[in-house]
């Protein structure tokens, strides 16, 4: 029965002169921030490996997806597929202390509704 209905629908579309339409997947949001919040702290580099900022960790807390973002950027578009609806994102700054241990900031949070 399903097959017959599918064929009938396809024939109807062909008869109208149209091809089947594939819905466009929703686009991921563009996330931005104005600063890393630590103006006196250098970015880590080959020569600066302590007392420095290493990266950001961006988490879509709605889906659990985690992204590592370079410390020198202020905008990011999550990769991969995204679902329609509300998504909450956490952005954390990762750093390295004076003895080489990792440090993390508290998260900055924003919510985006994907239409």
């Amino acid at each position: 029965m399903k097959t017959i209905l599918s064929l009938a629908f396809a024939a109807l579309l062909v008869g109208c002169g149209h091809s089947p339409v594939t819905p466009t997947p929703p686009a991921p949001p563009v996330l931005t921030w104005t600063s890393n919040g630590n103006p006196n702290v250098s970015a880590c580099s080959a020569t600066v490996q302590t007392n420095c900022l290493a990266s950001y960790t961006l988490t879509d807390t709605t889906t659990g997806q985690v992204f590592t973002v370079a410390i020198n950027v202020l905008t990011y578009m999550p990769t991969g597929t995204i679902t329609i609806g509300s998504h909450t994102y956490n952005l954390i700054v990762n750093g390295i202390d004076n003895t080489g241990n990792t440090l993390q900031s508290k998260p900055a949070t924003t919510t985006v509704v994907i239409p």
Binding site: T32, L103, A108, V112
Partner: protein
Amino acid sequence: MTKFKLFLLTIAAFAFSSIPMHAQSAVAFTWTNTDTNIAACSSTVTTNCFSGFTLTDTTTNTVLATPSVLGATATSYTWTPAGGLFVGTHTFSLVANAIGATTTTQIVSTPATTSVTNALTSINPPTGFSGKTQ
């Protein structure tokens, strides 16, 4: 030809916070001047005299204080950067400044140096975080 030379200074410094349990906000410098036989410059003594000290952050090549602030009798200085204290290690130099046989003869000692580490102990979160659909 200078009539005298300035000698090495010794300097020490440490970062500190004026508010207990808060992040470091200032560096306190102290030093001793071994060259105590030179008269301090004044309105009446303008040659062959000791004018004071120049403190420089050699990591950033920034002069922090000159003899107008660090006069001949100064033995300490607290530097509180307006934009917050650096994080990491900076090296500072202190030189003694004197005026020689003429008022235009500047004499500078060899620098005394010290390093200060302000360790990173916590990180602030990013600011202005927002998102928009495309």
